[in-house]
């Protein structure tokens, strides 16, 4: 730990702790997951930087969407994302969550992930190399430092729009809204 980090630690411990303790929810959403084991094992060892897979969404704060997202997976992703405690960061991994990638004309994969859940950063490529994951993580550090990794805040602010997009795809959703929608907020107002 160098000296100017100590001042940063004293100024905003929570922010620094979030930077150096990114616990990733282990969810193999697509083929990108094949590059995660090398990242967390001997050769690249992401644990040096505090990146560690955890078992349940309640314990994590980093969500890596590794690869294409089919409709069935998107449902699981939304539920997992909503279960994670704030603040939380989402990173789209690979080309497919960005714009569909190879599967741009597949009837069963979604094309733009950021229309259903907020995304803080992207790692492009098919497949991105493990080094790219580290570059992505360091970029995420910068974003956290500058307060720009605010996906969870945007999710709250634009929740109605996100929920509308989700419902456009799935019809009625089986779970209640995470945040009160506008109509409910109107009702609650005296």
């Amino acid at each position: 730990m160098d000296r100017n980090q100590i001042t940063k630690w004293l100024k905003s411990p929570a922010k620094m702790a979030h930077k150096y303790s990114l616990h990733a929810v282990y969810f193999c959403t697509g083929c990108g997951i094949i590059e995660i084991p090398p990242v967390i094992t001997t050769r690249w060892d992401a644990e040096r930087f505090g990146v560690l897979p955890v078992a349940t969404p309640r314990q994590g704060n980093l969500f890596m969407i590794t690869g294409y997202v089919s409709l069935k997976t998107l449902k699981a992703i939304i539920r997992t994302y909503e279960q994670m405690p704030d603040p939380k960061y989402t990173v789209g991994f690979g080309s497919c969550p960005i714009n569909g990638g190879m599967y741009w004309d597949s009837y069963n994969t979604i094309k733009h992930l950021d229309r259903y859940i907020p995304v803080d950063g992207w790692i492009a490529g098919c497949m991105p190399r493990p080094e790219a994951v580290f570059v992505g993580v360091t970029h995420l550090w910068t974003l956290i430092d500058k307060g720009k990794a605010d996906g969870y805040l945007r999710y709250k602010r634009y929740y109605a729009a996100y929920r509308r997009n989700q419902e456009m795809l799935f019809g009625e959703l089986q779970w209640p809204p995470l945040y009160p929608t506008e109509a409910e907020a109107e009702e609650a107002r005296p």
Binding site: M1, Y20, E47, G50, T56, R58, P85
Partner: protein, 310 residues
């Protein structure tokens, strides 16, 4: 009186610091055996700060109470365990130089009961979270507690009947006069070392929180500051169990420093064995605990009782 109050504050703090440091150390040791660089030693501290600053989701008052009970139970246990120091005056327990705020009351029996608070608190809280993984984890945890309590009780009985006292301070003092417990009750020491991973919840006995099987079991629904408290509790529990081992079999410590060095040795030995073993099933865990450690502890007890009655 002032010393007593200082001690009351000091020993839980030592337990917290050392326990959390041990958690970091364990990650580093395991990483090095994996041929990795590993996280920094203070990584658990970062994790705890991070979890503390996350939003916590509660599932009810019992859910919160369970965490508090587990952590409080572990912290209180520390007060009954001597953390190094030499006895100055045997007749007046208050005037001794041992770092053990509550040495005069209770002793081994109290420690044994207090150590159950951890599993019980976790069971209480996890039961309230209504997660099937958590309830399976809790049933495993209670069964595992049942499994290691049997040899543990026998070990403690053997130690108590050898030294003819239930006071841990007294046991430590006797060891410092006439040789360590490892030499006088060797089979018990071996038995206790065998069940040490089960009491600590590390490999091969980490089936309670097995992330690959039941998604970290009782912890499945805990997040945010609850998880932070439980991580701290894990560290304190680690501290308690190893401190007890050092006190009973390795002669405590002449002062705090030697005591911590001894703890470090025991902990590193246990971690190195854990690093190369897999997780075992609950059936095998129970079978193991009731077989070898129990047999060894029983044998030592028979020897002790016979040699004392002759």
């Amino acid at each position: 009186m002032v010393t007593r109050i200082i001690q009351l504050l000091l020993s839980p703090l030592i337990a917290l610091a050392v326990g959390v440091l041990f958690l970091g150390l364990s990650r580093k040791i395991i990483a090095r055996i994996h041929r990795r660089y590993g996280p920094p030693l203070y990584q658990p501290v970062i994790d705890v700060i991070r979890m503390m600053s996350q939003r916590s989701i509660s599932h009810g008052s019992l859910f919160e109470l369970g965490v508090v009970l587990a952590l409080a139970g572990s912290l209180v246990t520390v007060l009954f365990i001597p953390l190094g120091g030499t006895v100055i005056c045997r007749q007046n327990p208050l005037a001794h130089g041992v770092l053990c705020p509550l040495s005069s009351s209770g002793g081994l029996l109290v420690v044994m009961y207090l150590m159950l608070f951890g599993p019980l608190g976790l069971a209480l809280g996890a039961g309230d979270s209504a997660n099937p993984n958590a309830s399976i984890g809790v049933s495993r945890k209670l069964l595992l507690a049942l499994a290691y309590e049997v040899p543990f009780l026998l070990v403690i009985l053997a130690v108590m009947s050898h030294y003819r006292t239930i006071s841990i301070t007294e046991i430590v003092a006797r060891q410092q006069e006439s040789g360590w417990g490892v030499l006088s009750v060797p089979l018990s020491a071996v038995a206790a070392f065998l069940i040490l991973p089960a009491m600590l919840g590390i490999r091969p006995f980490d089936l309670v929180s097995a992330p690959q099987e039941i998604a970290s079991g009782p912890l499945a629904e805990y997040g945010g500051s609850y998880l932070a408290l439980l991580a701290v509790q894990k560290g304190v529990h680690l501290f308690v169990v190893i401190a007890l081992y050092v006190d009973l079999f390795l002669g405590g410590g002449v002062n705090l420093a030697t005591f911590l060095v001894k703890m470090l040795v025991v902990f590193v030995a246990a971690e190195m064995i854990a690093a190369v073993l897999p997780r075992i099933r609950i059936e095998s865990a129970v079978r193991f605990c009731w077989k070898w450690p129990t047999a060894l502890a029983l044998l030592q007890m028979a020897i002790t009782v016979l040699s004392k009655s002759v």
